[in-house]
Symmetry: C2
Subunit: 566 residues, 2 copies
């Protein structure tokens, strides 16, 4: 056995409460190293050979180096002391907090009266510590709207020099097309028809730019888009159609024209807002900035979220839109650069206003530190984005590598966070899916089909479903094409059907996921999604060649037409 490969950390993504009575226990080993792995456990105050239980563990995830074993346990007194047992041929190795031991489990301890000495512990499953993301997200299908570009429903709000909304309009970094909230209200039935259950809006608060990430007033809809009353109307109309609404906000930095920052620019050290930012010295200078900023962008001064007055203001923002306007979630821009205490208080504020609100952080890298149940429900799932695109769209990695990347992610977080992860394939920050696929619609469909049959909440970027294309910003931000003869109806029907399939079968939303085939140097995969109702076996070929796939090991399955159910 390769002991160096074995990894476990108590009270982490390797040992956590899944619900108020269930613990998930995991351990990593070298791939293919073990014949059997088990968790040996009992109550810490009554731990002996007579009282302990041995629960077999199963391979839950795999990559090129490792197997990740998983078991579910329900300790009757909510206390849990445990060790691992590894078997390879005739060799048996135990692993607990003391370390590894062959043949017999070792314990340690000087006068440890109570402690089952040397065991790993999950000391007590306190319900309040259980990470409980909102259930509705598991069933949700999101649709991302960039408000300036979805629909112009009220031309009276058009900003000066608004350009014509045509199918061949060319967005620039600074131009405007007049999209607004009324435009969204006008097309809610379109979204309902597609099967959407939640809109994710990029910011619509008052700001200078067309993307509105440079906030001027966090408590006010940008006048180009409408009013706060219009936002409330939008939320109410959406809710009537079974569609929820998530807003995007930037608490990491403000816009240059945020009045408190303007006050600091004018009044320097005398400004009452001087501690709302990270000013290194006075007088303030903007080029280069002598304050912390988003990236090196002087027009986006970083907010000092430690400051109590600023924090109070921002938490009121968090509360207002949830409680008074009725939104169902927050997507948090540059969430990883804001302090953790702010997010803990943010979560408390938001969940007090609506316990079912969804809190989604924009984080591009490993996000474990935010997903313990005290900060975010989930993060933007960019690693899944990249994996799907590299396998299905670019055909750059093989099936084994695709599995490894997804499975590493599966093991990287508690399952709750994965179940409500936000799975996108493109956005206002990336080229559009069809463009990444070089116009290859078949590959685009493969990617979308995988996303819509994988766990986590899928999101569709506005217009993808009707075949819009576009490169990186600004190309991906074209006005939505509403001229029916310029929309790809076949593609729309494809999305609509997959969404319907997903919504009709909880197994596709939140059933277990397991790869059945993901071989080295192969371009096809097979996987299953299972719950108590259904078992889906899904086979997808990303290579340009026909693939023969041996289904004998996949278990029994009756092939049915998912549309007719026959």
């Amino acid at each position: 056995m390769l002991l160096e490969a074995i990894y476990h950390q108590p009270k982490s993504q390797y040992a956590y409460a899944y619900d108020e009575e269930t613990l998930h226990i995991r351990v990593r080993t070298k791939r293919g190293d073990m014949d059997r792995v088990a968790v040996i456990w009992g109550d810490k105050y009554n731990f002996s050979d007579e009282t302990i239980t041995e629960t077999p563990m199963e391979v839950f995830a795999q990559d090129s180096l490792f197997d990740y074993y998983h078991a579910e346990v329900k300790p009757p007194h909510l206390r849990f002391a445990y060790a691992f047992k590894f078997e390879q041929g005739k060799s048996v190795v135990y692993y607990n907090e003391v370390g590894f031991s062959e043949g017999k489990m070792q314990s340690s301890g000087v006068g440890m009266l109570w402690s089952p000495s040397g065991m790993f512990e999950f000391p007590f499953l306190n319900p309040i510590d259980v990470n409980k993301p909102p259930e509705w997200v598991k069933q949700a299908v999101f649709y991302q709207i960039f408000p300036e570009r979805f629909a112009n429903g009220d031309p009276s709000l058009n900003p000066p020099e608004t350009e014509a909304w045509t199918a061949d309009a060319e967005p620039t970094r600074t131009n405007f097309f007049g999209g607004d909230l009324q435009g969204v209200i006008d097309h809610l039935d379109y979204l309902k028809n597609l099967g959407i259950t939640c809109i994710y809006f990029t910011p619509f608060f008052e700001a200078y730019s067309n993307h509105k990430y440079d906030t001027i007033d966090y408590l006010k809809v940008d006048p180009q888009f409408g009013t706060n009353e219009k936002a409330k109307e939008l939320v109410d109309e959406a809710h009537k159609r079974g569609i929820r609404v998530m807003l995007d906000a930037v608490f990491n930095h403000s816009g240059y024209y945020f009045p408190p920052f303007q006050d600091v620019l004018q009044n320097g050290a005398n400004s009452p807002y001087k501690d709302w930012f990270h000013i290194k010295e006075f007088p303030v200078q903007t080029n280069p900035p002598n304050y912390h900023a988003f990236a090196f962008e002087p027009h986006m001064p970083k907010l000092n979220t430690e400051n109590p007055e600023l924090k109070e203001y921002l938490l009121e923002v968090a509360r207002y839109w949830v409680e008074d306007i009725g939104i169902d979630g927050w997507r948090l821009d540059v969430a990883n650069e804001v302090d953790h205490r702010f997010w803990r208080d943010f979560r408390a504020t938001v969940k007090r206003a609506n316990p079912e609100a969804y809190i989604l952080g924009e984080i591009w890298h490993n996000s474990l530190a935010w997903l313990g149940g005290d900060q975010f429900d989930a993060v933007m799932n960019y690693p899944v984005t990249n994996s799907i695109i590299d396998f299905f769209v670019k055909n750059e990695i093989d099936a084994e590598s695709f599995m490894g990347r997804l499975d590493q992610l599966k093991i990287a977080y508690p399952m709750q966070a994965n179940e409500v992860a936000f799975n996108l394939l493109d956005s206002h920050d990336t080229p559009r899916l069809l463009t990444i696929a070089d116009g290859n619609k078949a590959r685009m469909k493969l990617a979308a089909a995988f996303k819509l049959t994988y766990f986590g909440a899928p999101c569709i970027y506005y217009g993808d479903e009707i075949g819009m294309d576009g490169g990186a910003d600004p190309g991906c931000r074209k006005p939505m094409i509403w001229e029916e003869d310029k929309q790809d109806h076949e593609l729309f029907a494809f999305y609509q059907r997959l969404i319907e399939l997903r919504k009709n079968h909880p197994a596709l939303q939140n059933g277990t996921f397991r790869f059945l085939s993901a071989e080295k140097n192969k371009g096809y995969v097979a996987f299953e999604r299972t719950d108590s109702q259904d078992r889906f076996v899904i086979m997808m070929n990303s290579s340009d060649k026909k693939a023969k796939i041996r289904t004998s090991g996949f278990g029994k399955a009756a092939f049915r037409d998912t549309a007719t159910n026959k």
Copy 2:
């Protein structure tokens, strides 16, 4: 290279803020596998071959399987993107969030506009997230007092049937000897003379038992010990002598006679306190208990720290003793079974009352989940207890294993937590050190000497310094011997001199610690403690044979008499 052995987790004990400008970055490799390890880093918004820095890493800890590399970095914009570079002979392997790559660092990412795709990240060092335990603890020498057994200063408070305070008195689980707070006040000069800077009291709140862990009133000194005014006098008198005071409290469970529990026993589901506990069903029964309890002990009902009213009461307890009575710290009994949210709010309450208060959790196992700066400053360092005893007292493990166990602990937590770890060798819960050593005073001294020259805050259990012995509870709880002719004055002087040495040389308190010699099958070790002032090279032999130790690799050292400084 053994890739399976390499481990890193961003934003964990492997990557954390040490202070407001410094990050500690660590990575694990197979022991002896690498010739060189470096961290390659830069600003995430300006990450390119021209702007990155390569910082060599050093072996910071070792055990039988692994080397643990460590580096300190100061990112100028407080943002940090990084990868690792491993060198073995001519082979170079890079490791970042994408995985391992040979020869050239790989990156990934679809349209990742900003993110230095594929790098690990510490996104922003926000000052408020830095774990800052109180500085004074690094210099402290603690002394643990079991109030019923330290000194009887006011016989008028003696409980009925108080037994005689003699050197051969035999404690039982239920008897009383009349120790009280006046007794402690009377002997503060004794503690000052020994060199003590902080007293750790096991509980002195009103309770039924002699150990007082079964609290009846958290806001009141037990009448057997005195009054709250007497406690304030004790704290003030101690402070005058430069001695701080830490109290012990049990927030996990109450005593049976805690009035709210009595109310629940009497009034059942009608009690206003019914949700202060974890009652599974009404009517309440105590044998066996149909409520969660400490262990299986019906007389210690577990408190429901999620309940807002109970929580408010307990947080007021936390505030009162710190703010109104002036104590300097809390030692928290069975801290691992209480919910994490309670501890976060507890910390906020205590640090608001006194930012320099020390928060110490009683946890016997891996405590990482509590040591992120949001809950405890440190934990009772039982793994160090066991390691010192196994090596120096029982002579059961070899030097390499001793090093491995200490070094695993060193890498298990952020350095801040290690610097203020609470290092004890015995307590009211274990046999006394001299008894563990089978009366072998030389071994006892070795253990004490190591503890007093190691990092973390050392604690002496009352009476150890004068040669008291005793087995497990109740034997270890004998009344303190005050008859001078029955005290071991030589041992007292030994403790006194070591404490003075430690206090005079910050290198022994908080200098870097490194093993210079810790070989397989050997019974001796050498280590150094270094700061900008001093470098100590300390050699200790735990075997029964004379040891020859080769000092040629230890660097230059001038041997001086630590007492005379010559």
